[in-house]
Symmetry: C2
Subunit: 79 residues, 2 copies
Amino acid sequence: MKARVVVTLKSGVLDPQGKAIEGALKSLSIDGVAAVRQGKVFDIEFDGEDRDRVRKTLSEACERLLANTIVENYAIEIV
Amino acid sequence: MKARVVVTLKSGVLDPQGKAIEGALKSLSIDGVAAVRQGKVFDIEFDGEDRDRVRKTLSEACERLLANTIVENYAIEIV
């Protein structure tokens, strides 16, 4: 079973990497971009097919390792 | 208009960061994980509402800046 976790910065948290990308896009004359925020994505493969267990395991993984929940949000998507 | 770009390593390309996360999950006794691959996500806000233009701009941004198309795939999602 496959799952995807997307970790993004909470709104209000400064994102210098996103700002740098915004600047780089402008300097490449790629116009129309109002804002860029960068995050991380984890594609995780699980043994077994128990969706509830996978969701529970992923929540724990996010809380303990994948996301810093003080400044980041996470979203779990089971494929 | 908002869009999300997800950049992931092509299959076959080694992902040491993913491997490290896999090891860390194991050492936290978070079990059942068979494989982890890490990628990047960009949340991009656009001026205007022309979907075709946004898609074209994003393809160009991916090819020229956001993804290294030799070793990475990208997926564009317009929200």
